[in-house]
Symmetry: C2
Subunit: 279 residues, 2 copies
Amino acid sequence: MELWFTEYQNNKLAYGYKISKHLHSEQTKFQRLDVVDTEQFGRMLILDGIVMTTIEDEFVYHEMISHVPLITHPNPKKVAVIGGGDGGAIREIIKHPSIEEAHLIEIDGRVIENSKKYLPEIACALDDPKVTIFVEDGIEFIKKNKNTYDVIMVDSTDPIGPAVGLFKKEFYQSVYDALKEDGLFVAQTESPFLNKDIIKPTYQAISEVFPITRLYLATIPTYPGFLWSFSMGSKKYKPEDADLSRAEAIASDTKYYNPEIHRSAFALPNFVRDLIAQK
Amino acid sequence: MELWFTEYQNNKLAYGYKISKHLHSEQTKFQRLDVVDTEQFGRMLILDGIVMTTIEDEFVYHEMISHVPLITHPNPKKVAVIGGGDGGAIREIIKHPSIEEAHLIEIDGRVIENSKKYLPEIACALDDPKVTIFVEDGIEFIKKNKNTYDVIMVDSTDPIGPAVGLFKKEFYQSVYDALKEDGLFVAQTESPFLNKDIIKPTYQAISEVFPITRLYLATIPTYPGFLWSFSMGSKKYKPEDADLSRAEAIASDTKYYNPEIHRSAFALPNFVRDLIAQK
């Protein structure tokens, strides 16, 4: 018998992964959670039937959501990750010597616990003394904090279920208020091939809150659409002005990110430019 | 009843596309050929069970295999496409005002005929007076021509069946000989996520024949691995020295390519750099 896990996209696409071992399944308070070993991408965490991360390709997403904002900010000391319970963003964040405090705000504690158990390569920094974990609703958490963070990363699931509110203008305003006066934030904002209906209003909402807005791209082979977007809202710093000698230093310990990738990730194909240029 | 077409990769991955209409199937002299309408990507051409092109995403591949070399060469007049029977590369090539002659060398005439019938948006330039079609084996064709072309594009299928020889050093030597003294060529060379075993020896072979070798990337949502590589061998011109005012002019009529993409496509993630750096 062959075991396959198949992720469906709007009943138009079906991405199937051959499974060598089914390790765990549970219904948490918030979502269905599965852990499997796939033949192509190694161990895989699945939430509500959607691939969250895999051992073989997680480096792209986690490096790109972390290092691009942390190098854009000249001296990030205190950062928050909303979502990201697998710990991958945290692992990348603590590579930066300037970091003093990293807060992880994950709504579903079972994601953290299962990641520690089944994905130690990704969750390995969650017990670092610089890291504090809050098992809370990120939207409510961020409302309570004002003028607190240098960098915030919104490492969410797709905008369904608990993550819907993370793609709304009210949330971006709370993020703005939670950032210091020179702070900046990044959110994962889905694929320009499959999710034009998400990227366009999201980018527009961020640009209504922040004086500086940018979109950048990376290729992630287990996220449907594969060309993946991240949106940045910044109060002061622009990614194109970053000190790339710091990027060079970080790139000694990365698989994807480097100074050339930092620059080139903001080069947008015409169809993506057009998407975010429209009002 | 729902119809789905599924492309399998080494029995580890299965990429499924929901079909709204099955238009055509035949066994040609060389391969199985299918044409379907998919709900996500529109009309799709399939050869031997592998997606060749779709109406919705073909622009990425065809623009990137064409414009990058044609802008790298300062004045391309005579070009050849090996493979590419759908006509997409040809359509992009004739956008360049310097082009005087474009040769298409496709081994399977049925690909050309079916593309004209079912994919007119892609095949639309095959009857252009600057275009000459040769239904021949590209390997034998290119051996007969010496010092003839400014640019050659190897727009092949995966290295199985008739395309195996297009990934060998002997072929790259023939391409070198068929190019003028300042000529250059580009080949599609698969995905660095899934086809490390192809990219590494291919890049190595090209670098043994050509003084200048470069790898560049684009994201193609229907080619498994999705981060797709193109390898360039050049006798004289470097892509980083290209006159990007010509790229700007071409970009008025593209969906993906533009001057920033020209530059950024050569920025390689660390894991891709490492792949081609190894001997």
